[in-house]
């Protein structure tokens, strides 16, 4: 994985000291809260309901064991001994104290981490496929270009005060595990018909109040031109994006208002200009330097079938169930990818304690895992496991309450922090996720239901991605009472679609029943092999509505 050189290291240390000065000016009253706000946001610091919240970037979701230990220590020293992994592959600490934050940033700098641009109206943490470098279907490791984009966009002088936040995701394969179609810019690594590698670029996707699927602005951008192309998009947006209404300020609204064709024209014009000046050609030496950090680890020459693994799977049903959902094919024979669920039944989705982080770092050492990944579905992934080690890993995970066999199943719920923490929320979301997970705890039933993605947001800003849940749940405030709407038919994968609201919402007592009702409708209608999403796409909303609202 990427390692900081002297320049990266100096940058994050100086940035922490710069923030120390800004905090001092704020505490001395030289900066108003309004003036301080963009400065703290660009260092990852939010003001929430009860406290400051620090959002730490995990670029493209990759962490070393050293970094995981460091995060555990930071969470213990400056917070309450746990953190919350988010849909942007970041880690949030929800109980930070302002005067201590500069020291926290220095501790993070020491483990090559930071909170720069995890918030604010700027380019946010670049996210990528959590199977990068391990999945068999990949054209190139998406983290190479993600790291280049991270550096290029860091404290960008022109794009640090955009109309609104800006999210970029990169996928290295046709299968989309990074939700690129619902990002401000989605980048897919592709090959053209001459066999050259390049990028397909989408623009104007997004969730939130007004969800859109992104439009393709170009089917192929040559490798050396990608920064110029992204800059062209950003400039068009910075000049023309709306600033009069925060709810209409994202690039998706601009694209919608001027139309994808006009957007393409403006971007191409700007791109030609930048390309002519040749100031933003991706430097080949830098590309190679960064790519070298993502060279695959040395793999052992292993037979693809491990007898130990096969025997353990036969002998232990719980392990076999975990393998069924949480173990994925790896590009190398004898290896596998394992998903570590942060969705134990009844727990807060995405939460991880400092003790668990340290234990996981120990397991990474024990099983020779140089890195661990955070997924946008709020789980962790060990990307390069020897199959013969999987049983031993699973036993260790069981002891840590991290072996829940539910990846992709109904209890693997994406959930924002909701009204328990968040200033913007209209309703709690964690308790709803917990209740639904309890209802569907029976693993046999979960397996019978198959892939079923529930995503919950506590407000219309959609941090819980409810529009792209097979079942989406949106918490709203109805006359001072929490109310939950159900959406069906969303997907954030390569078959992306936006869910539609079924009808009137349910109160916090009734929402889990309503979800059960939806699931029962699906099981009564499904054809062999159909997921809930497939059945919904085939039969439409009517039978679901009928059953749900029958009185």
């Amino acid at each position: 994985m990427y390692r900081y050189d002297e320049f990266d290291a100096q940058f994050v240390h100086e940035r922490a000291e710069q923030f120390r000065g800004q905090v001092a000016r704020r505490l001395a009253g030289e900066l108003t809260e309004d003036e301080f706000k963009p400065l703290r946001l660009m260092n990852g610091l939010y003001l929430q309901l009860h406290s400051y919240m620090m959002r730490i970037n995990i670029p493209y979701g990759t962490l070393s064991a050293r970094q995981l230990r460091g995060l555990a220590a930071v969470a213990r020293k400056y917070d309450r001994g746990y953190g919350h992994f988010t849909t942007r592959q970041n880690l949030q600490l929800h109980w930070s104290q302002l005067p201590q934050v500069p020291d926290m940033l220095l501790d993070l700098a020491d483990i090559e981490m930071h909170g720069m641009q995890s918030s604010g109206n700027c380019v946010r943490n670049i996210t990528a496929d959590q199977f990068a470098g391990a999945g068999g279907d990949e054209i190139e490791d998406p983290r190479i270009i993600s790291e280049i984009l991270r550096q290029w966009s860091t404290l960008h002088p022109e794009f640090s005060f955009l109309p609104r936040k800006f999210k970029i995701a990169v996928s290295g394969s046709a299968a989309d595990r990074a939700a690129i179609q619902v990002h401000d810019i989605g980048i897919q690594i592709v090959r053209n018909d001459r066999g050259e590698m390049g990028y397909r670029v989408l623009v104007g996707g997004g969730l939130g109040r007004t969800p859109f699927i992104g439009h393709e602005v170009r089917s192929f951008v040559a490798k050396a031109d990608i920064l110029a192309f992204v800059e062209a998009i950003m400039r068009v947006y910075n000049e023309s994006g709306r600033r009069d209404n925060i709810h209409k300020a994202r690039i998706k609204i601009l694209v919608h208002q001027i139309g994808p064709e006009e957007m393409r024209k403006r971007v191409e014009r700007e791109f030609e200009e930048i390309r002519k000046s040749a100031t933003l050609q991706l430097p080949e030496h830098e590309m190679q330097r960064i790519a070298a950090y993502f060279a695959p680890p040395v793999f052992e020459d292993l037979p693809d079938i491990s007898l130990e693994f096969e025997q353990a799977r036969k002998a232990n049903l719980r392990f076999a169930n975990w393998v069924k959902t949480n173990v994925h094919p790896h590009k190398m024979p004898g290896y596998a990818i394992a998903t570590i669920s942060l969705k134990a039944i009844g727990q807060t989705p995405g939460d991880c304690s400092s003790d668990q982080m340290e234990a996981l770092a120990g397991l990474m050492d024990q099983f020779g895992q140089p890195e661990i990944r955070v997924t946008h579905e709020q789980n962790l992934v060990t990307p390069h496991m020897r199959k013969r080690d999987l049983f031993a890993l699973w036993r260790e995970l069981e002891a840590l309450d991290l072996a829940t066999a539910n990846h992709g199943l109904v209890s693997d719920i994406i959930c924002c922090p909701g009204l328990d923490y968040c200033d913007l929320a209209n309703a709690r979301s964690i308790n709803i996720a917990q209740e639904i997970a309890r209802r569907f705890a029976d693993l046999e039933r979960q397996h019978d239901l198959g892939e079923l993605k529930i995503k919950i947001s506590g407000c219309i800003n959609a941090c819980g991605h409810h529009h792209v849940g097979h079942i989406g749940i949106l918490g709203v405030d109805r006359k001072g009472v929490e109310n939950y709407q159900i959406l069906l038919g969303g997907s954030g994968a390569e078959d992306a679609s936006l869910g539609e609201i079924l009808g009137p919402g349910f109160d916090s007592e009734g929402i889990a029943d309503a979800v059960e009702n939806v699931v029962a409708t699906y099981t009564s209608l499904r054809h062999n092999g159909e997921r809930l999403l497939d059945t919904y796409r085939r039969v439409g909303a009517a039978p679901f509505k009928e059953r749900l609202y029958a009185r």
Partner: protein, 162 residues
């Protein structure tokens, strides 16, 4: 040689002074272009945050000062206007930012080609030097032509002593 007279900002409703350099709005410039150019004085133009410098047209090289007005520090359009002026439009004159701008944004403005500031809360040369010293290096190229971290890496790699 006598010191250059200072620019006077003239509101759209006010008459032009008999002599001396003025700063006028784009609207005024368009309606009184010939008159303004015939004065034989240095001429400055101020742009609202929503006005692209491309609206100025070919007369841009007759201007010695362009003022980008920033109503509120969160409005970041002037960063792109400055960049546009210095690259596509090839503007070589003085470029000033005027309005509610934070001290902490000065480095960004300087990078995209702004060379003077007219701010309500006075910012001294020492302030500017202090903010600019906070971060030693930059990652991305911009108008200022500063050596980027990418350049530094390439240079160090090729230098015989490294």
């Amino acid at each position: 040689m006598p010191a250059e007279r200072a620019f006077v900002t003239v509101a759209d409703a006010d008459p032009l002074p008999a002599e001396g350099p003025v700063i006028v709005s784009l609207k005024r410039f368009r309606s009184e272009r010939d008159l303004l150019l015939a004065r034989g004085e240095r001429l400055g133009l101020r742009l609202d945050a929503s006005e692209s410098p491309e609206l100025i047209g070919d007369d841009i090289h007759k201007l010695v000062l362009i003022v980008l007005q920033v109503p509120y520090f969160r409005d970041g359009r002037a960063f792109s206007w400055a960049r546009l002026l210095r690259t596509r439009l090839g503007y070589k004159g003085e470029l000033r930012v005027s309005g509610y701008v934070l001290r902490d944004q000065i480095t960004f403005y300087a990078r995209v080609g702004v060379d003077s500031f007219d701010l309500p809360r006075p910012v001294t040369e020492a302030d500017i030097a202090a903010v600019q010293a906070e971060m030693s290096n930059v990652y991305q190229p911009s108008v200022d032509g500063r050596e980027t971290i990418w350049d530094l890496r390439a240079r160090l790699r090729h230098s015989p002593i490294s």
